[in-house]
């Protein structure tokens, strides 16, 4: 079945031979034809990691069954096409939550493993892969392997963050964490310089599980922003006032019903938006309560928000730079962005802690990560990215494949040098994506 498929950035919509995988038992038979193919979960990656134009796309979403849940240990076994939302909708009411989730819960377990996704609590919980205790993977040679940290440990490590290139994950076992309630106690702290940001981040690490900040990327070196930190809490610890404050409950669903011909994100809209966003949140400074859904996944409430960037789609640029070089590198990037006059609604700055990586190609490094959205303006956007790439590479940093559609192969090779050589031995020769051809040559 040929269908046009795009990823979240909507940069291109190419026909793919779509093969829905019905369930984990029959999966291995379904992936031996039409090679090479690539797995596709919810397509929430921004670039081409989940695309294979004119080739086969194994759609995993129908493999969406739970297999078992152990209420004593919190270990969930499920098919890889289950979404994080389906898991949490079912188990949060029973006092269990995924230890690591990204800024959207509309992604599959397979996608979460293949990009080894991170959340706002990297310094406490690390990446998603750290909580995966085992999985089963099917390869295009017809084999099926059960992998964990003792058994096929090398394939296990290559598959976590392995960009879907080592096989198709059919089922996975994940250890959930206990929670007392769906609530978080949050603290909103406005800041007005990068130094403030870094000292806030350092000071918050011991007492706060979740930390993240939004920055106004149009103000250049005088960066202002909002630092958000939060801890899980029990309902009993929240006051009635906190629980009933406006904005505490999750807002109802919104929708971006059509794609405007041009991006709605432009110079005219951006400056007032960023200023208003800053002042609105600065006024909310202090402690309040938030439901986990509105705290972690605010954008999930706006269906198809990615359409707001118009028909040409958009890029997300997410880098990480090591701790030592982070402060000047982030300042240089913000200056370059301000100079280019392009910017983004969603500029997110956050620190990562020192932790052993779960996967060979996992993205996080101890340091700071900056993520920004840019409408696709062709050559002009590419020029800005080239400038940002230089800063990141010089600082010893790298880009996040889950967000990437354009980084040069050389930059990938340098950024992921530590794991890349070992990784190539575990690739499934029947699997290839637009990204793997672009960055790995096959």
């Amino acid at each position: 079945m040929f269908m046009k498929i795009a990823s979240w950035g909507r940069l291109a919509e190419h026909p793919h031979e779509v093969v829905p995988l019905a369930d984990h038992r029959t999966l291995v038979q379904s992936i031996q034809h039409g090679l090479p193919g690539i797995s596709y979960g919810m397509g929430r990656s921004y670039g081409d990691v989940c695309l294979n134009p004119a080739g086969t796309l194994w759609q995993t979403r129908r493999m969406n069954r739970f297999i078992s849940f152990d209420q004593g240990t919190g270990i969930l076994s499920c098919e890889a096409g289950v979404t994080l939302k389906e898991i949490q909708d079912c188990l949060v009411p029973r006092g269990w939550m995924l230890p690591v989730t990204p800024g959207t819960q509309l992604i599959t377990v397979g996608g979460a493993i293949a990009n080894d996704v991170h959340g706002k609590n990297h310094h406490v919980m690390g990446t998603f892969g750290e909580h995966v205790t085992s999985f089963r993977i099917a390869r295009t040679d017809g084999s099926t392997l059960d992998c964990n940290r003792d058994h096929h440990a090398d394939l296990f490590k290559a598959t976590i963050g392995g960009l879907g290139l080592t096989g198709v994950i059919s089922t996975a076992q994940i250890r959930l964490r206990r929670i007392d309630s769906p609530w978080l106690l949050t603290d909103t702290v406005p800041f007005t310089s990068l130094d403030d940001f870094f000292s806030l981040a350092d000071r918050s690490e011991t007492d706060w599980e979740h930390t993240v900040s939004w920055i106004d990327c149009l103000t250049g070196p005088q960066t202002r922003g909002i630092f958000l930190r939060a801890n899980h809490t029990s309902e009993a610890e929240l006051t009635e006032k906190q629980l009933t404050a406006p904005g505490t409950r999750t807002p109802s669903a919104l929708n971006m019903p059509v794609t405007p011909p041009l991006s709605l994100v432009n110079k005219l809209s951006l400056r007032p938006f960023n200023a208003a966003y800053y002042h609105m949140n600065a006024r909310k400074a202090g402690i309040s309560a938030a439901h986990y859904q509105s705290f972690f996944y605010p954008l999930d409430k706006i269906q198809h928000w990615n359409r707001m960037y118009g028909r040409r789609g958009f890029f997300q640029y997410q880098c990480v730079v090591p701790r030592k070089t982070a402060r000047p590198a982030i300042a240089d990037m913000l200056a370059a962005i301000a100079a280019a006059g392009d910017g983004s609604f969603l500029a997110v700055l956050k620190t990562f802690a020192e932790r052993p990586a779960a996967g060979l190609l996992s993205f996080p490094l101890a340091g700071a990560t900056l993520a920004l959205d840019f409408p696709n303006k062709g050559a002009r956007t590419e020029r800005l990215f080239a400038r940002l790439d230089d800063i990141v590479t010089q600082a010893g940093g790298r880009l996040y494949a889950a967000k990437d559609a354009r980084m040069p192969a050389q930059m990938f090779a340098e950024g992921y040098a530590s794991g890349l050589q070992e990784f190539s031995a575990f690739r499934d020769p029947g699997i290839s994506s637009a990204m793997s051809r672009r960055l790995l040559g096959s």
Binding site: M1, F2, M3, V18, P20, A22, D23, R25, R62, R65, F66, I67, S68, F69, Q71, L76, C78, C90
Partner: protein, 253 residues
């Protein structure tokens, strides 16, 4: 729903039925919830039962594989199910979308399609109706289709079988009108399930199976006689049914 609920699903591996089961499992407040999952592929049914028991630890499932075509087999299967306890809900969901062109060329295919989409579901309904009328309780929900509302060239074999389901349900409703047994006729519009996977490449707009299941579950709990899912198909089909023939015949549908 009451404390202890018994739900029988015929064609339990259907995507629409499975999502209905998930929603029933997710509804809070049953002391015990018992599913009877009837199909033809044991492995598939086991996987569904496992999934339901994670969604609701109080849910248990009995798995049955059976012959869906012979009348005696259907009578026997239903008698066995009813002997295990009176169902609160029976959902009859199996079906297949045949290729109309092939049915026109090969009468065996046409006959099989009529059998599995038309005769088989109504015989199941008939078998349950007798038992449920005797105890005077429960709901029989049977999945027809918007395709049963008016025959059209692109799928009238399937449409005719679904039309049979409609008329049959109507008759059962008449028969059971004075009783506590409810008969719910469900007419889904095009829905994103394995049955319609091949239509997607033509850009067909398909409703999500979750939303269709939610409409069905709501309709069943209300005991609505006819449930279009999504609801907008009621209006669309009303217009299509009333189009004058000279207009309808010019349409390429």
């Amino acid at each position: 729903m009451t404390d202890s609920t018994r739900i029988v699903i015929i064609g339990a591996s259907s995507a629409i039925a499975e999502h209905c089961a998930r929603q029933w499992a997710g509804q809070a407040g049953h002391e015990s919830l018992q599913f009877v999952l009837l199909g033809r592929d044991q492995n598939r049914l086991n996987a569904i039962a496992g999934d339901l028991s994670v969604r609701n630890p109080a849910a248990t499932s009995q798995i049955l594989c059976a012959d869906f075509s012979r009348a005696e087999a259907i009578a026997k299967t239903v008698a066995d199910i009813v002997a295990g306890g009176t169902p609160d809900i029976v959902l009859i969901a199996h079906g297949t979308l045949p290729d109309q062109q092939l049915c026109q060329q090969d009468l065996t295919l046409a006959a099989d399609a009529m059998q599995i989409n038309g005769l088989s579901p109504v015989l199941f309904a008939e078998a349950f109706a007798g038992h449920m009328q005797a105890v005077n309780t429960g709901t029989i929900a049977i999945i027809g289709s918007v395709a049963g509302d008016r025959g059209r060239k692109s799928n009238y074999v399937y449409g005719a079988a679904k039309g049979l389901v409609s008329r049959y349900a109507q008759g059962l409703q008449h028969r059971l009108a004075g009783s506590n047994v409810k008969v719910v006729l469900i007419k889904p519009g095009p829905t994103d399930t394995p049955m319609t996977a091949h239509l997607k490449q033509d850009g067909a707009s398909l409703a999500s199976v979750e939303s269709v299941a939610a409409t069905i579950v709501r309709g069943v709990s209300k005991g609505s006689p006819v449930v279009y899912a999504p609801g907008k198909w009621w209006l669309i089909m009303m217009i299509i049914r009333h189009l004058p023939r000279f207009v309808f015949n010019k349409m390429d549908i």
